[in-house]
């Protein structure tokens, strides 16, 4: 065994050729990552690099030296890509939408990109058709007395997105099996529990199944590396971007549906059945896969949109909450009686949390605190005050009316968000005072993700039996 290895090592100096190839390949891959540089541009630059290096080698330089000199003469990639971007400003936009469609005349679309395009197309169509499979067994979308579709909608969406990432990230079979098994348990329970179909628990379980399945799809997004805080942050970022893209696609879908109904209506053909049975469900599932792909494809091409949105809305929501802080004590006696109050406050807290989370996610950790961080702190603090006031107002009343499934979940979620926001406020305070880095805030949020998972799983598994499936 030992005699062979020195022999191998001695062979390396003669292997200068492959090392040159590797260097060129690395240089090329690096150039391709720049915005505005297409595969065809990289081909052209690479050809130049090789011609130059060949000439230099003929005049006596070694392959390594020739490569270094040729790269130096070619100039910095930063500068070149900036010039390319200026010469083709339209490209920056094109890349955003079409990451190498088949048949782009200028750039011979590279094989992996084309393969991805088809993989996405196949997964999206398969997922869209999957939602029609139950119809073969008599599960009508229009007439759905057993609430099959509300129970399983999340499974179809998360299934399509999860399948895409399982393929895209080449996730290990063991991870895929583990994730699928957990998902299957949740889906099986929600379908097998003898719910009272007019009750609350069936909807609560279905809703929380959605959270469970989405986080499981997130495990596939992270290629199984769910323990890593950085990967968890990526999943959080992805979720926000995906949500925006689904809504954008939904806008287009709405126009499509409206025109379908209208255009056929002109000729007296009623297409509402087709729209309800096919276009809407299949479009929704297909769009969720396509949105996942779009988020992946445009990564690094433009700045993420969600942090921008959260920056725009943070001051506005801060104003809303400050107004509430003033208003609630004035109207104390007319305080929120109905059960929706907690739900609304939960939603408010979730939005505040989202704003804080996404603004943080795009933050340069090296920056020190600025005006915006103060604003964010005001937002979180005001949300805490509002929540405290509403809870205080309601606790007595809840005791009077008793705990229903809805109220239990709403209170539980309120506590979850309250704990999170309280610690977020504390960390934010330390941060603006310059005592803690922004990294601590990020770690706290990513560390909290399993808590959401545990809570959602608890609601799916334990809540329905506790409330007798009412």
């Amino acid at each position: 065994m030992t005699p062979t290895s020195p022999g191998k090592r001695r062979a390396t100096p003669s292997a200068a050729e492959p090392s040159f190839e590797a260097q060129v390949g690395e240089w090329r891959a690096f150039a391709l990552k720049r915005r505005g540089v297409t595969a065809a541009d990289a081909d052209e630059l690479e050809g130049h690099l090789r011609d130059q290096a060949a000439d230099l080698q003929q005049s006596g330089l070694s392959a390594d030296e020739a490569f270094l000199v040729a790269v130096k003469r070619l100039g910095s990639q930063d500068e070149i890509s900036r010039e390319f971007a200026r010469a083709h400003s339209s490209r920056l936009w094109k890349q955003l939408v079409l990451a190498g469609p088949p048949g782009d005349s200028d750039a011979p679309a590279s094989a992996p990109r084309r393969r991805e395009f088809w993989a996405v197309a196949i997964i999206a169509v398969a997922a869209a058709l999957a939602i029609k499979v139950p119809a073969l067994f008599g599960q009508d979308i229009a007439r759905d007395p057993h609430l099959f579709y509300p129970r399983n909608l999340a499974a179809f969406v998360a299934g399509g997105v999860g399948a895409y990432f399982a393929w895209k990230r080449q996730v290990r079979a063991r991870t895929v099996l583990g994730v699928s098994a957990l998902a299957a348990i949740g889906i099986a329970l929600v379908n097998a529990y003898p719910f009272e179909l007019r009750g609350q628990t069936v909807y609560l379980a279905a809703l929380h199944l959605g959270v469970v399945l989405w986080l499981l799809a997130g495990v596939l997004y992270a290629a199984g590396d769910w323990r890593s805080h950085a990967r968890r942050m990526d999943v959080i970022r992805f979720t926000g971007e995906w949500f925006v893209y689904v809504n954008l696609l939904g806008l287009g879908g709405g126009v499509l549906i409206g025109l379908t109904l209208g255009a056929f209506g002109l000729f007296g053909v009623d297409t509402s059945g087709f729209v309800d049975e096919w276009l809407l469900p299949c479009g929704l599932i297909g769009a969720s896969v396509v949105a996942a792909w779009l988020v992946e494809a445009k990564q690094g091409v433009i700045e993420a949109i969600v942090p921008v949105l959260s920056k725009v809305f943070t001051p506005l929501f801060a104003l809303l909450l400050l107004a509430l802080v003033v208003t609630i004590p004035l109207t104390w006696s007319r305080g929120p009686l109905d059960r929706d109050a907690l739900v609304i406050v939960d939603l408010l807290l979730a939005v505040v949390l989202g704003l804080a989370l996404y603004a943080t996610s795009a933050r340069d950790s090296a920056d020190s605190a600025g005006v915006f961080d103060w604003l964010q702190l005001v937002l979180v603090a005001a949300a805490l005050v509002v929540d405290g006031l509403v809870l205080a107002n309601m606790i007595g009343r809840i005791a009077d009316y008793g705990f229903t499934a809805n109220r239990t979940v709403a209170v539980g979620e309120n506590l979850l968000l309250l704990v999170n926001l309280a610690w977020t406020a504390w960390l934010g305070w330390r941060f603006v005072r310059g005592k803690r880095g922004v990294a601590a805030l990020e770690r706290w949020q990513t560390g909290y993700v399993p808590v959401y998972f545990a809570w959602a799983a608890l609601v799916v598994v334990a809540l329905p039996p506790l409330f007798h499936f009412a």
Binding site: D43, G47, H48, I80, H88
Partner: protein, 125 residues
């Protein structure tokens, strides 16, 4: 001799069009020709030639086609278009006018504008 960046940049497009007017060529060969015709005085950052070529192509002054080099690799060849020749003529006239004006200003300045040195002395006091 050091030639400032601005001057190199301003002369780049006329230079490329001029070389392409001699016949079809490709990036690396163009760079070599530039070194040759300038006696090595004009040093380009090689990579910046390509965005320039693409800009000229977008403007219809040159056209390109992928071909195969003698070593079997893909290579993009550029050719000047009639529009490019028109642009080249414009460049030529402009540069000639500038060169003529500079020549006049430097060579014959004293003869044509005898008051110039007086003004300079006035500044010096």
């Amino acid at each position: 001799m050091y030639i400032p960046k601005d001057l190199v940049a301003a002369s780049a497009a006329p230079m490329v069009l001029g070389l392409l007017a001699e016949g079809e060529s490709y990036g690396y060969a163009i760079i070599k020709s530039v070194r040759e015709v300038s006696g090595g005085e004009i040093e380009w950052t090689d990579g910046l030639l390509y965005p320039l070529l693409h800009r000229l192509e977008a403007d219809g002054q040159v056209e390109s086609a992928w071909g195969v080099a003698e070593n079997g690799r893909r290579r993009k060849y550029y050719r000047i278009t009639p529009r490019g020749r028109g642009a080249l003529d414009d460049h030529r006239e402009q540069w000639r006018a500038v060169a003529a004006a500079l020549g006049t200003a430097w060579g014959d300045a004293r003869r044509l504008t005898p008051h110039l040195p007086v003004v300079q002395e006035g500044f010096a006091t």
